[in-house]
Subunit: 415 residues, 2 copies
């Protein structure tokens, strides 16, 4: 049987524009992976009557209602009270939740006040979703052919509660299990990937194959429905192999993190260190690598050479080379990478030099033209990349990612 | 007369969780500044019947409907058709919009196809909101006591169309004008600012004063309602002066951009150049500065010294200093800043060295302890910053911002 869910977010801060409704995005993506349709999201403020009205509309459009926010003492447990009323349920005292509240306050060495126990008042006969990431418990119940799930609003808490509490509850509503694997790519757009995979996608029913455009690259999600997880993964395996074969070296991995995480893992596995010499990306590659905890074990350092003086003085790019070819040239990309490798004492050095805009450079090189270098041992690869005449931020991001992809290709023997 | 607006976002990609509804956040914040209430947001997919139902519900709850998305040929101008139907309006051919489409394609040297002219079919008697940032024109009209505004969905386009087209239209609906000024701060939390400003806030009716917590710092928005803009700003001026006096040197400016933009303007005004030596921030400061177009005129370069070898070899930090005090020390912060100033040939150099986590360093320095340096002429300031035991990403961001604030303080004579 196919289910339809509707999300109701409760919080005046959303209506004032203080925050975006990222909970809805996270939950929608999760529901789509479970094969549950979502036709509407609603956002409503901390107002009991309007929450009740939103619930009344939603229950006639969907058989699963998921609320976020409006739990906890600061909003008088607004959502819980409104939902209990809408479904004619009493709130009853739930001793295990009261005990969790006592324990939590004891651990913080703070006294419990009476209003904290409001959170232990839960709809009669509900399933309590223990909250290990915050104070307000979540709730799930079925009434009048509708499944209701209430989750806390703070994004991290909401995500943990959704993944670890709501998803198992929702999976139990369907026969069998749903499992998925995500093939991540770099350097191929969503529509190009779709064109290559169209015949395969059309031939499939279970598993299904769907492309997702992410800022970091196109993702292909393979989702199977079966009686057991092992059966689901057995259905996924041959499709995963086909996708990998069709997309070839564009595939950076399956169920992996970002390009920098993939590079990190490869560098660690091979015991190699890395460094950077950045011109147009201005420190972005170094920033992306050092975002990762543990990066100090393999990232030696970086040089942002935003002027020719720094390219010459710190990286040792010959002045006559700069004069002859200009800073945006394959020659300088190579000299920067070699110079960084020597100055930083790393096994591999990446370099970028290009035109991020808003204007062409003084030699007339077009906006979006970038040279990337990768130096190792006494060798150096140089590649020319055209980001096109797009926004500065996008040219910088794409250049940094393309440099990281060059590193991935080198480390996996694709160069 | 007070207005109530409701936002309807049209887009299946929102219901699949591919993107978050950031348009709703941006518009809600803008409406709140105009004193217009928002009680609900609705998100609906690319489905004409469900869009019509969402409009039918919304028009009974609000007198201003703002839609985002569902314009343009890829979705068959879904929103326009559904709205025209809901309000019993014909779509009529609008020659100036057709001409804009012809001109745009001519500029791109691409042939116009017939379906592009669908976009020139607009509800009879509407106000056309010219789109200078994309292809689909926006639309505004009043019918049956409801004001309807349709904006394109892509976030940047939506923001420009809202600010430059919808806001003037909405301002015309109210008596008089609404004007606001935003005092930006750094280094003071929302609740601390609120505590200092509470008496002033409570004493005000027009203008109003409201704090907003942003990732880059607390903002105080002063909003006045008057017959003319000049009168509104005259009401704002004394409150602005009071806020600045109360918050003192935490104020980075009024109606200014980010901290890096404030520093950029100050550096430009004084004709000074800057460079960086980053350890724990790993290139983030360089990245923030070089995000700004034109930064190449005043940013010389940066050195990310993630190992002691690079601190010694490239920045010239004495090895015995590193041995004696460790990399996370005020001495090394100073030597890094001085070394960067010399190596990069800049007027001012910023440095960071600290513990971003997830573990304390090998000398037992706690997570979140960071030393910041600022070298100029033959002087150097060093300051100790405690980010606290928070997430790595937050320690890095706060350290980078605190370093930029040190630069702002130096450039404005506050150090």
């Amino acid at each position: 049987m196919s289910h339809t869910a509707e999300l109701i977010a409760v919080g005046t801060e959303l209506l004032l524009g203080n925050i975006a409704n990222t909970d809805a995005q996270m939950i929608s993506e999760g529901l789509s992976q479970l094969g549950i349709n979502v036709y509407y999201h609603t956002v409503v403020g901390d107002n009991p009557e309007r929450v009740r009205q939103a619930v009344d509309i939603a229950r006639h459009r969907a058989d699963i209602l998921i609320t976020t926010g409006g739990l906890g003492p600061t909003c008088d447990d607004l959502t819980k009270v409104a939902i209990a009323q809408a479904f004619g349920k009493e709130l009853v005292y739930h001793e295990p939740s009261a005990q969790r509240i006592r324990d939590r306050f004891a651990a913080m060495e703070r006294p419990v006040t009476e209003n904290n126990f409001q959170q232990a008042m839960l709809p009669e006969g509900c399933t309590v979703l223990d909250n290990d990431w915050g104070t307000a418990p979540g709730v799930a119940f079925e009434a009048e052919s509708t499944h209701v799930i209430m989750l806390p609003g703070p994004p991290k808490e909401c995500e943990m509660m959704f993944r670890h509490r709501a998803v198992p509850y929702l999976k139990a509503l369907s026969d069998g299990v749903i499992a998925s694997r995500t093939v991540k790519t770099f350097g191929i757009g969503e529509s190009a990937a779709e064109a290559l995979l169209r015949d395969l996608m059309n031939s499939l029913q279970n598993p299904t194959l769907a492309p997702y455009a992410k800022p970091t690259g196109t993702e292909l999600r393979i989702t199977a429905h079966a009686q057991t997880e092992a059966e689901a993964f057995a259905l996924i395996a041959p499709v995963e192999a086909q996708v990998k074969e069709i997309l070839g070296d564009k595939v950076i991995g399956v169920d992996v993190g970002s390009l920098e995480e993939v590079c990190y893992a490869l560098l660690k596995e091979k015991g190699l260190t890395v460094g950077t010499a950045e011109s147009c990306t201005g420190g972005l590659i170094a920033k992306l690598i050092t975002d990762l905890p543990g990066s100090s074990a393999l990232f030696r350092g970086g040089i942002v050479s935003y002027t020719n003086e720094v390219k010459a003085g710190v990286l040792g790019v010959p002045q006559d080379m700069l004069d002859q070819y200009g800073a945006v040239s394959p020659q300088v990309a190579e000299a920067m990478a070699r110079g960084a490798k020597a100055a930083l004492g790393c096994d591999i050095a990446l370099s970028t030099t290009g035109v991020a805009g808003p204007d062409p450079d003084d030699r007339g090189n077009p906006i979006g033209l970038v040279y990337l270098g990768l130096a190792y041992q006494d060798q150096c690869y140089v590649t020319e990349f055209h980001a096109g005449k797009v926004a500065r931020e996008r040219i910088r991001r794409q250049s940094a990612q393309t440099a990281l992809d060059l590193l991935r290709r080198y480390l996996t023997g694709l160069l």
